[in-house]
């Protein structure tokens, strides 16, 4: 109990409601996420967990019919405040997608993309250093160090996903959102990404949406269970998987639905 209080809260969502046109996708979701921890979001398909994670870097802004109500604070700042610069927010909140989506550019240029548009690197040598460090942190550097100028799309699926992770950390964000990052990967590549998450959480706050309960159990310290657009339960991962307080959570993790 004492230990938990010492961890500071990074993200706080308060009464979040999201509509896609007429359809409501999230109902009064309130939860917090701790700094430098992995928080997992689980639940059956269409339960709103991806919608929730996409609110955290305002990716839903891209969708015209999407309306977000409520409040999300990162380090105490409301990210939906009118004076919030979306580009700067996304510089601080990186994202890795379900399907690896490297740009049709070289491996180097993929990682250099963020630093270039945000003007992070002053000189070419700084840029090279950032790219190399990001690739190292994403555990990809050794595999691609001889072919940084080859197309990023030519890598294997697991390598592409790690390239996308390297791209996300290249601008040195605080938070990394991962939307089912392993669903398109084989078990070995999945294991590597999970291992990587363990290393990354020493520096970054990680939120991961996953379909795999085992994965949530392996990588996260806290887990939230979403069902039909509502956050049913959020607690320490051991508690969720061993002693959930809600019947629906119990049913889901024992495989009775979803």
């Amino acid at each position: 109990m004492v230990k938990e209080n010492m961890k500071s809260i990074k993200i706080k969502a308060h009464n979040l409601n999201v509509h896609y046109g007429e359809k409501q996708a999230l109902f009064d979701v309130s939860m917090y996420m701790e700094e430098k921890q992995v928080t997992a979001l689980i639940g059956p398909s269409g339960c709103g967990k991806s919608t929730f994670i996409r609110c955290l870097n305002r990716m839903n802004d891209v969708i015209d019919i999407c309306k977000v109500q409520g409040k999300i604070e990162i380090d105490g700042n409301d990210i939906y405040a009118p004076d919030m610069q979306v580009e700067q927010l996304r510089e601080r909140v990186g994202m890795v997608f379900q399907k690896p989506n490297p740009f049709p550019k070289s491996i180097f240029e993929n990682v250099a993309y963020g630093p270039r548009i945000h003007g992070i690197a002053e000189h070419k040598s700084d840029l090279e250093e950032i790219v190399v460090n990001s690739l190292k942190k994403a555990a990809l550097f050794d595999e691609v160090k001889d072919r940084l100028n080859d197309a990023g799309t030519g890598l294997s699926g697991g390598q592409q996903q790690r390239l996308c992770i390297a791209r996300a950390i290249s601008v040195n964000p605080d938070i990394i959102l991962m939307d089912e990052p392993c669903s398109a990967l084989d078990p070995i590549a999945t294991a590597r990404i999970e291992e990587l998450m363990g290393e990354l959480k020493t520096e970054y706050t990680i939120i991961i949406v996953t379909h795999s309960m085992q994965q949530a159990a392996r990588v996260s310290s806290r887990t939230g269970f979403f069902h039909l657009g509502k956050l049913v339960e959020v607690d320490k991962t051991e508690t969720i998987f061993s002693n959930p307080s809600d019947q629906r959570t119990q049913d889901y993790i024992t495989g009775r639905f979803g």
Partner: protein
Amino acid sequence: MGFILIALIILIGITSYFLGNLRAKNLRTSNQKNLKSLSHYYGYYVALWAVVPALLILLMITSFKSFFIEQYVLSDFIALGSYTETELSLLFTQIENTAMGIKLFDENTILIDGAVNKLNYINKTSENLTYVTVLGFSGLLVLYSIFNINHKLNSRKIVEKFLIVLYFTCSLVAIMTTVGIIFSLLYETLRFFSQVPITDFLFGLNWSPQRVFVREAGDLDTRDLANAFGAVPLFAGTFLIALIAMCVSVPVGLLTAIYMSEYASPKVRDWAKPIIEILAGIPTVVYGFFAALTVAPLVRDIGQGAGLTVSSESALAAGFVMGIMIIPFISSLSDDVIKSVPQSLREGSYAMGATKRETIVKVLLPAALPGIVGSFLLAVSRAIGETMIVVMAAGLNAKLTANPLDAATTITTQIVVILIGDQEFDSPKTQSAFALGLTLFVVTLALNFIALQVVKKYTERYD
């Protein structure tokens, strides 16, 4: 007579369909063995036998009939042995005219009258004979095929096979036409190059085929030919006008495409896109007089206001209007290409904190570049092959110039100029049109080929 006969054949076809159908149904009920196909397939089977061979025979008869009739009618004259081939065919025309009541000459009256009688007789007989042959054939084959229906016959398969042959024949029509056009172009071009050296044509700086026409009365000097058919001014004019057109259409088209694919709301897109595409549907003649009557005088007035000499027909006016015309080619193809860049790449870029403009410039356009280049190349080949606008607005004078305010002429314009009116087909002037046409064909074909390759490479990219 053709119409009645074809109608009869079709009637037989329809009847035989029902006969075949009926026969199959009867077989099914009387004989316990099952047929291999559904009854109506036997109907189609019989109908095909009734119609297809009959039509083929009719086609054959009509294509060979005239030759035999001519031989028969002229047999008396041929027997005399004093007529040449050309005279004989003239004579036959005369006989035909006489048969229709037009009398022109009075010589050889007896022979001609005899021939006219022969012609009337043979026409009547051959018509009857055609009816009997075709309908008889059709009827016999109907009987044959009806009695051929039994439980071993798989008519469904036969009908399918026939359809495959039909599809193949149809596709052959387009292919053979293309091949035919290429060969006739090649043939005439080779004849042209036998009189004018190919190097003079490709590298000569002077284009004035009219001079050959004037000189033809006297003795034709080969040196004149060499000096008259230098096509470089035409290539230069074509290139200049296409360049002006691309200068207009590339930026406008590309920016339109970016706006339509990335910025326009679905509502705006829904009405704006069709309107832009209507541009491509306006007849080029309309663009032509728009260029000649509105834009060219405007260009001249503006130019003169600025103290420049502008001819009343200028490459600039023609190129500008042509550029407007090919905007939809670029905008709608590029729009599709940009739109087909996967949404995941856009999201990836936005998630990195890129703005919309940065996403478009740094991710979408590079990803879509091959497709966009493909659309440019298609637009260029369209600009090079375009005729009406340049005929009406660019001028006919083939002079070598790089000044867009001057009149210029293009390959297509010169082909029009050469072939307007009556032409003799063995003069080098006429044949030069074929050489120009072949050049044009080769250039546009090459451009289209490159464009397709580029687009193909692009489409392989994301899969």
